[in-house]
């Protein structure tokens, strides 16, 4: 086991050295240093094992053993506009498209943006006037406790998306960031990175999508950082529908300034093993966040969500609703922590996790946690695991509905609370379809 881990680390090290040498001239020195530090951190900690409390229910052994290798810069997959059309949200008028982690300018569109707003890939941004923004936010002293996945992402920080909203900028049409996995010659490890900086009083909607063009067995290790300025508002959708052979590890961190609003909705449909770590820091008074999500998994899938809602300032509000539908031999993990610091008086935090088990082989491990060190607060959390209500079923059947149909209707209804919240028609439609497909598949069995 130890030997395996060492081998794994050294294979990343080799690719890392190649990348550092390639980039030595064209990328800023601070970035190269940052990557080196992160690589050292990764080599020190490796991938987390189930001995670590936060990874108790999710075994990443398959990734360690998976022989994934970072994609070389010249490994180009032939993909035209027609091939990606199916993955685009028509509502979005600007988009960045990455294929196996590599930015594809010819598939992207960034011209329909208000003045001052920047939506650019990192290579362009590093060369342009916004290098200072990247440096200010990416090169911040990182958390010394950062786990192996985050460290590895930082070590391979090269391609990524920058969304910069200057003071007062209002972007009405959503901005889509699409990360596609396409079958490649090697089992690819890709390290997407997204930085969203919303200056005061700005507003935008971001759609972060992950998808596979085929049944590719890829490893995505993404890190997304969102900074919401004073009175700014960021609406963020993360839609993950990678192939059922894929591994998807993602981290989303957001930090909110005074009266900033962050609204995150995550949809997890794909991947063999997915893990989404969320950290939202309500750092100044009056900030408010929504962190909602739906995971829909079937046989062979494992979906893990870990979130930390960190109330460090008074008068902040957080809402969290996560729902899960588990079918076949699937597994889901939910771990949500709400932390209220000593001075965060008048905090209002609500958290709820509901799970619906459709099969007798599905398994759920849920752990909602409250850690509270201020007294004038209102905090509540709840978690449920169960199957459809007999009474509700009976009611529908008594109205003449077939039992299977009644079951599906109720399952659909269970998810609807979250589907309804989505403001973007195309995502809503996709999700509806995914739910109905899963239900129809059940009918045919």
């Amino acid at each position: 086991m130890m030997a395996q881990a060492t081998k794994e680390k050294s294979s990343y090290r080799a690719a890392f050295e190649v990348m550092q040498a390639e980039d030595a001239r064209c990328l800023p020195a601070w970035l190269l240093r940052l990557r080196e530090t992160a690589m050292e951190r990764f080599e020190q900690v490796g991938f987390p094992t189930t001995d670590v409390e936060d990874w108790k229910y999710t075994n990443t052994g398959a990734i360690t053993k998976g022989a994934f290798a970072p994609v070389a810069a010249d490994a180009r997959v032939e993909l035209g506009a027609d091939d990606v059309a199916a993955f685009l949200a028509p509502e979005a008028s600007s988009r960045l498209v990455f294929v196996n982690g590599v930015y594809r300018a010819e598939l992207s569109a960034t011209e329909n943006l208000p003045a001052g707003v920047v939506v650019a890939d990192f290579a362009t941004a590093f060369a342009g006037e916004h290098e200072s923004v990247l440096r200010a936010y990416l090169a911040r002293p990182s958390d010394p406790e950062v786990d192996g996945f985050n460290a590895l992402n930082a070590a391979f920080l090269r391609e990524g998306a920058l969304v910069y909203l200057p003071k007062g900028a209002q972007v009405s049409a959503p901005i889509q960031l699409l990360f596609l996995s396409a079958p490649a010659t090697q089992t690819a490890a890709v390290f997407p990175r997204v930085l969203v900086v919303a200056e005061r009083e700005s507003a935008a909607t971001i759609i972060e999508s992950y998808a596979s063009t085929g049944e590719s067995r890829s490893f995505t290790n993404a890190v997304v950082e969102v900074f919401v300025g004073e009175n700014a508002r960021v609406t963020h959708y993360k839609v993950q529908r990678e192939s059922e052979a894929a591994f998807h590890i993602a981290t989303t961190n957001a930090e909110l300034e005074r009266s900033g609003v962050y609204d995150l909705t995550t949809i997890t449909l794909g991947a063999q093993l997915s893990r989404h770590g969320i950290g939202v820091k309500l750092a100044h008074e009056g900030a408010e966040c929504w962190v909602d999500g739906l995971y829909l998994v079937g046989t062979g899938q494992h979906a893990d969500t870990h979130s930390l809602i960190d109330h460090t300032s008074p008068h902040c509000t957080s809402h969290q609703l996560y729902k899960g539908i588990l079918d076949g031999k699937s597994r889901a993990v939910f771990n949500g922590k709400v932390f209220v610091h000593k001075d965060a008086q008048k905090t209002d935090a609500q958290q709820s996790n509901k799970n619906l088990l459709l099969s007798n082989e599905a398994r759920v491990d849920t752990k909602p946690q409250l850690e509270i060190y201020a007294d004038d607060v209102k905090c509540a959390h709840g978690a449920t695991v169960g199957q459809l209500e007999e009474e509700e079923l009976f009611y529908l059947v008594s109205r003449g509905l077939h039992t299977d149909l009644a079951r599906n209707l109720l399952t659909y209804g269970f998810a609807e609370e979250l589907v309804e919240k989505i403001k973007i028609e195309s995502i809503k439609r996709q999700l509806d379809e995914a739910i109905l497909n899963r239900l129809h598949a059940r009918l045919e069995v």
Binding site: T366, V377, G382, G386
Partner: protein
């Protein structure tokens, strides 16, 4: 000082020391210590084996200092006296032979042991440091076939029962403190309710630590045979010492078909002073096994004392249709720390569990609920409902909830709900405008908050618990 603050600072009234000559063994822990304890108690060979096996396990184990939400300096296990007993005649034919000083001590604690003053309807086993000094109503219970005696006595008189059940619910290698207890336990209570017997009175054990250098390691074993029914209550106090003392107990409950055990605790060990100096480390393993069909085990605890509480009374719901319950009020004030909760392991079909936990933190204290509800694949139709509420008094304390829910059966239904808040201004205002004083209003609200748990306690103790809570909180609300 605001009135709620006034409400919490009442003196610990059980903090006195009884001046009595003790029979002590030298401090320190080794195989020799264990042989000595075993010899002092004239134990049969199998008990010594049991202890030594536990001790060897313990040596290999690691103290759980990382995962619980508590901090304390390392305990020096070689600096504890593992056996301390008040000097007295070996056998007590009647109460008259018990040292009057001891009787006086227990009377002062509100536990009269002499025949004429005994609490009607409650049989008491009084444990002083390492030994049981008296057990009341023994003869009367015997008529019904109920065995209620000190653990040491049970080892000598009912070795077969002990052999059959001891360590079957909490194995000697279960956890660090359980292993330590299994190696060095000195006394405790033994209860055996035979088939079909409804125990005619409440049974209770009163634990008292008196010696400042000793730890207390008691062992309780309760067995309810088919259709038997028993309600058991324990209470505990200790004098005020500046030094921390270790209390590591193990309680095992076994319920066979249709049996029911109700176990209530009112824990009021010395909690240390306002700065957190002194007090008892209460590191306890309590577990019940619902082995039979339709059996039921119910834990009720009111935890108000101890510098640190580390305790998770649990139920293993093995028999089909068995029921596990956990009702808890945990109050922490000043520098107290509590990490307490329960585990409900659903194994049998249609097993049900119910958890109601109420945490109150005041002062600089830290109060955590940590619980596990686990539904195994075979537990068809399992049902759990959990409610954890926390009340914060003051802005220097902490309240945490760490529930683990693991479900592997889709016919199971598990619900968890938790809230944290402070005493509502509106409720206070309502009571105040009815002419109720601030202090009484707060006390009313807190008692209301804990009502779901208090009503599970036997009558006399419910009253006691309410009083205790008021006393403990005196001065902290405002």
């Amino acid at each position: 000082m605001s009135s709620i603050e006034l409400l919490t600072n009442k003196e610990y009234k059980y903090g006195f020391v009884t001046d009595i000559e003790s029979d002590m063994i030298p401090r320190g822990l080794s195989e020799d210590t264990i042989r000595l304890i075993s010899a002092k108690k004239n134990e049969p060979e199998f008990m010594l084996e049991f202890r030594l096996k536990a001790y060897r396990n313990w040596l290999k184990m690691e103290e759980p200092q990382h995962w619980p939400n508590i901090t304390y300096p390392k305990v020096d296990y070689q600096d504890i006296i593992y056996y301390s007993a008040p000097k007295q005649k070996a056998t007590k034919a009647s109460m008259d032979e018990v040292d009057p000083e001891l009787i006086k001590t227990f009377e002062k604690l509100g536990i009269p042991l002499t025949e004429q003053k005994m609490l009607a309807g409650v049989a008491v086993d009084a444990v002083f440091d390492s030994v049981s000094v008296a057990t009341t109503y023994k003869a009367k219970l015997k008529q019904h076939g109920v065995i209620f005696c000190s653990f040491s006595e049970a080892v000598l008189e009912y070795p077969e029962l002990i052999k059959k059940y001891l360590g079957t619910v909490v194995p000697t290698n279960d956890n660090y403190f359980a292993a330590l207890n299994s190696a060095v336990f000195t006394d405790g209570s033994f209860v055996f309710i035979p088939k079909g017997v409804h125990c005619p009175m409440e049974l209770s054990t009163y634990f008292r630590i008196n010696n400042s250098e000793s730890g207390q390691f008691e062992r309780t074993l309760i067995i309810a045979e088919e259709g038997a029914h028993v309600s058991y209550l324990e209470g505990c106090t200790a004098p005020k010492f500046d030094k921390n003392q270790l209390h590591a107990a193990v309680v095992e409950l076994v319920a066979l078909d249709d049996a029911e055990i109700k176990y209530s605790t009112v824990q009021n060990w010395y909690a240390g002073d306002e700065e957190g100096k002194g007090g008892i480390y209460n590191f306890v393993t309590k577990r019940g096994a619902c082995r039979g069909r339709n059996s039921k085990i119910s834990w009720t605890q009111v935890e108000t004392g101890s510098a640190i509480t580390w305790k998770y009374p649990s139920c293993i719901l093995q028999g089909d249709n068995s029921i596990g319950e956990f009702y808890s009020v945990a109050l922490t004030n000043h520098a107290q720390q509590a990490d307490t909760g329960t585990k409900m392991i659903h194994i049998g079909k249609n097993t049900r569990s119910n958890i109601v936990s109420k945490g109150i933190s005041a002062g600089k204290s830290n109060n955590s609920y940590r619980g596990l509800v686990k539904v195994l694949a075979g537990a068809e139709g399992a049902r759990n409902y959990t409610q954890c509420d926390s009340l914060l008094i003051g802005d220097k304390c902490g309240a945490n909830t760490f529930p683990y829910i693991e479900v592997s059966n889709n016919t199971a239904k598990v619900e968890h709900e938790a809230t944290t808040s402070r005493i509502s201004e509106e409720q206070l205002f309502y009571l105040r405008q009815r002419g109720i004083s601030q202090e009484d209003a707060v006390s009313l609200i807190i008692n209301g908050f804990c009502k779901d748990v208090f009503r599970e306690l036997p009558m006399e103790f419910a009253v006691e618990a309410q009083r205790l809570l008021g006393m403990k909180l005196e001065g902290s609300v405002g």
